[in-house]
Each structure stands twice: as structure tokens, then as C-alpha cells.
Subunit: 276 residues, 2 copies
Amino acid sequence: MAKDIKRLGLEGKIFGIDANASHLEEALALNIIDVKSSYADLHLADIVVVSTPVDVLVAELSNILDAISDDCVVFDVGSTKAMVCKIVEDHPKRRNFLACHPIAGTEFSGPSAAIDELYVGKTNIICEIEKTAFKLQERALELFQQMGMRIRYMNPEAHDKHIAYVSHLSHISSFMLGKTVIDKEKNERDIFDMAGSGFESTVRLAKSSPAMWTPIFEQNRNNVVKTLNEYIQNLQEFKQLLEDGDYEGIYNEMNDTNKIKEILKGMPQNKKELTG
Amino acid sequence: MAKDIKRLGLEGKIFGIDANASHLEEALALNIIDVKSSYADLHLADIVVVSTPVDVLVAELSNILDAISDDCVVFDVGSTKAMVCKIVEDHPKRRNFLACHPIAGTEFSGPSAAIDELYVGKTNIICEIEKTAFKLQERALELFQQMGMRIRYMNPEAHDKHIAYVSHLSHISSFMLGKTVIDKEKNERDIFDMAGSGFESTVRLAKSSPAMWTPIFEQNRNNVVKTLNEYIQNLQEFKQLLEDGDYEGIYNEMNDTNKIKEILKGMPQNKKELTG
């Protein structure tokens, strides 16, 4: 996001705050931030982007709101929304906070993983927009629009329920697929010569950061357990068809699921439409 | 493969045989083949590439071998190897057949899905090389080398066992992930606005052809059921950790699986080494 702000030539300086001193140093060296900073400078900010694992977000958000000026907007970019909205509901500066989830990124972490124009055509889910001060909404939305994001409004509970299906479950399926294959093939590294792009695609998310994903699964536990129950059930049914030799059933399962083609074509990043 | 043969400017004409008349027409229009043909012409061939679903392969291979000349090499490109090797073990022209599995391709099918230089740096598993006549081995290997493939030799049973882990299981995990999300979200198509590149990557293989994959799962049933049992077990253990609130356990599961990064870097298509 800092990269995009620089690319867009927006006015102002980017102050970086990070618990990891070497990440901060790296961000400065990569010219992603202008200044190494701390909470003591937060009162100077017009916009604060909280980009941390979601456990740190819920632990720190109140302290951040305490430290900012009345004219600052703080938004987060976390993958869970119910808990953060709950944590700040009674904060005196609730109107300075905007709960966001820009659906964009890769399996990589740290300053060197930053990508130019990451947000063009990507969806940003905003929750409880009505709880943010009007002129601060406007300031954040103008930034999102300049970055090329599509905005969708949703309540935090609906966000957490649906994101469990279209994001959190994918990560678990990928991690457990990686685990299954590594466990089996640990003594036969040459076997990975047999792995093609299909394997690579399905296990890509298993490279993701455990420090980022553990608190997401913790905060969204009930929804994630539900998606896992349904996924395991579907796998068991598929296995049963195979054990029963019901190949017509297997064909039909796959054929019915082929409609994912049309669904993926309709995804914002795959549409050729103009953004904004 | 026909595209590559043309690109490499190899001598000879490409005869196309297909049960699907419109695919044959399309292949001709795309200049992938030179002539529409039939089994009646098979005696003219120097090389026959059998590229069909594996049920058609085992049904037709004996007929194809019956129809070719003594100086022709026939190879297949199927994702299972034990059954096809078994089917032809006593065929009088066994020495004219080479059992192959080039690990390359996409989730798309038909002539329009053909890709130039698909095989550069990709692994081709060859089974029971010793059962193929020496000069016919040579002819096929020269072609593979010109296409840029890496060759690995393996017995059919080892091939089928390992490919279940690094390919067949990925397809089932992807199909069932697609099914789980489609079932849940069928009345809420807008939800796919929330799906990012992670979801897309993990469900990509769910676009694959059921006609191609059903017979693969059928022929490799025992190995596939075994991988599914292990995968389901790992998912259940992850779910249990989540239900128990054992977030340290969840962190460790993901952290241990992160080593997939190094494994994927070591995959042939991701190495910067020279091929051949």
C-alpha cells in the first residue's frame, strides 16, 4: 500500500512502525517508507494503515486510536472482521476507524514481498461503514479509488462466514495437502520431480506465514470448523464412490463442479471491465 | 506435441485420428495436424502418439499395435502406467510400445488448449524401457530430447503410487474444494467477489475434464483411496486442534509444512538449470 501511495505521487510522508527492526530497515532501504517511526509520532498522521497479524491488530488497535489526532482515519487490512469491530465498538474514537479487508496479496511476507499496483481491480470489503465519520470515510475511499479497488460493503459476521469458504478453507486444504505429500515422500525427495504445475498450484498457499494465519483461524474458528466439516464430508463421499466403484457418480461429481470455470471467469480480477 | 513437432521443423506429416469429428476439424484448422486420418493409415506411421483418456488407451492400444508396421514406435502420455503395461505385456508387438507420462499440461482440453514449448524442462516418466526395441526407444527419446524434456525411468507400480500423491490427490482436493464452496454459496453468487487469487489457485484443477479424470481414478483406485485416507486424517487432526483451541499446534502444523517452499523451488520447472 505504501508502494502504491508513492507510485501515485500522493502528497505526504510515509512513516513506518514495525516490531521487527530488520523489516523496518529493509522497508526504508527499499524506499517503501520515508521515515522509521514509533507510536510517539501517531498524533501527526492523517491516515494510519494497520497491517499486522489479526491478533496484534485486536491487541493494538485501541492503543493506536488513543494515540491519533481527532482528524486521523485508521483502517486495517485483516482477514477477519467480527472481532476487530467488537473490540473497538465502545472506543471513544470508534468514528476514526474503518474496518477493511482488501482481498489481495500473495503467499509471501515482509517488505520485499510488496508489489506495485497490487490493488487494481481487487475487491476491498468494508464493514460497518456507518460507524466511521463521514469525512474520514471519504479520505479512505478516495485512496482506495486511486489504487483501483472495487468496494463492497458487508457486515462483519457475513464477511467472516463467507471468507471462511473462499479463503480460509483454501489455505487449510493447501497446508494439509502439502503435509500429506511431505509426510509420505520425506524419504524420496526425487519424487517431487514428478510434481507438475497442478501440484504447485494446489500447494502454493502452504507457503503462507503461520504467524499471520494462526490468529485468523483462531478468530474465525467457528466458521472455519464448519467449512472443514463440509469439506471433509465431501472428500469422504468421493472416497466412498471410489471404493464402491461408482464411476458414474465420480464423473458426475466432477462434471457438476466444472461450473467453477464460469464462476472464476466472473471473478473481479478476471473480468476485463473497468474498475472504480 | 504435434505443435512442437511442427515448431521444431521435423520431417514428415502429422496424421490426426480422433473419435470427435469437430476436434479433428479444429486441429486441422489450427494447423496442428496436416491430414485427417483413421486406423487404416496406421501402417504408414513412424511414430504414433496415443493421447486419449486412459480407459480409451487400454481399450485401443492392442488394436493400434495390431495395425502398425514392425518399424513403428507407439507411445502413450497417460497419467496411469500399471494397467497399460499389464494390458500389452503379452502383445506380439510389445517391443513397439513405450509407456510414457510427460508431466505437463493445463486444466484445459481439446485442440485449442495446445501450447507451444509445453515440454521444455518438464519431466517425462518412462516405464519398462527395457521392453521396448532399442532403435524404437532411440527414436522416441530423440523426439523427447528435441522437445526439451527431462527423462526419468521408473517401474509402473512406483509411478502409480507416487503420482497419486503429487497429482491425483491434488485434483480431488481441488474438485471437492470447488464443490464445498459452490454448494454453500449457490444462492449467493456475489460472494465470489470475495474470492482472491488464493482461492483461484486451489480450485484451478476443478476445471479439469471429468472424461479424462474418471478413468485415471478408476485405474489408480487403490493408491488414490490411500492418499485420500491420509489427507482426510490430516484435515481431521487440524480441525481437532482448532476445536481444542490448540493454536500452538496449529502454528506448528503450518510451520512444518512451510518447507514445501524449498521443495517447490527444487521442482524441475522452477530450476534455472539447463535441460536435457
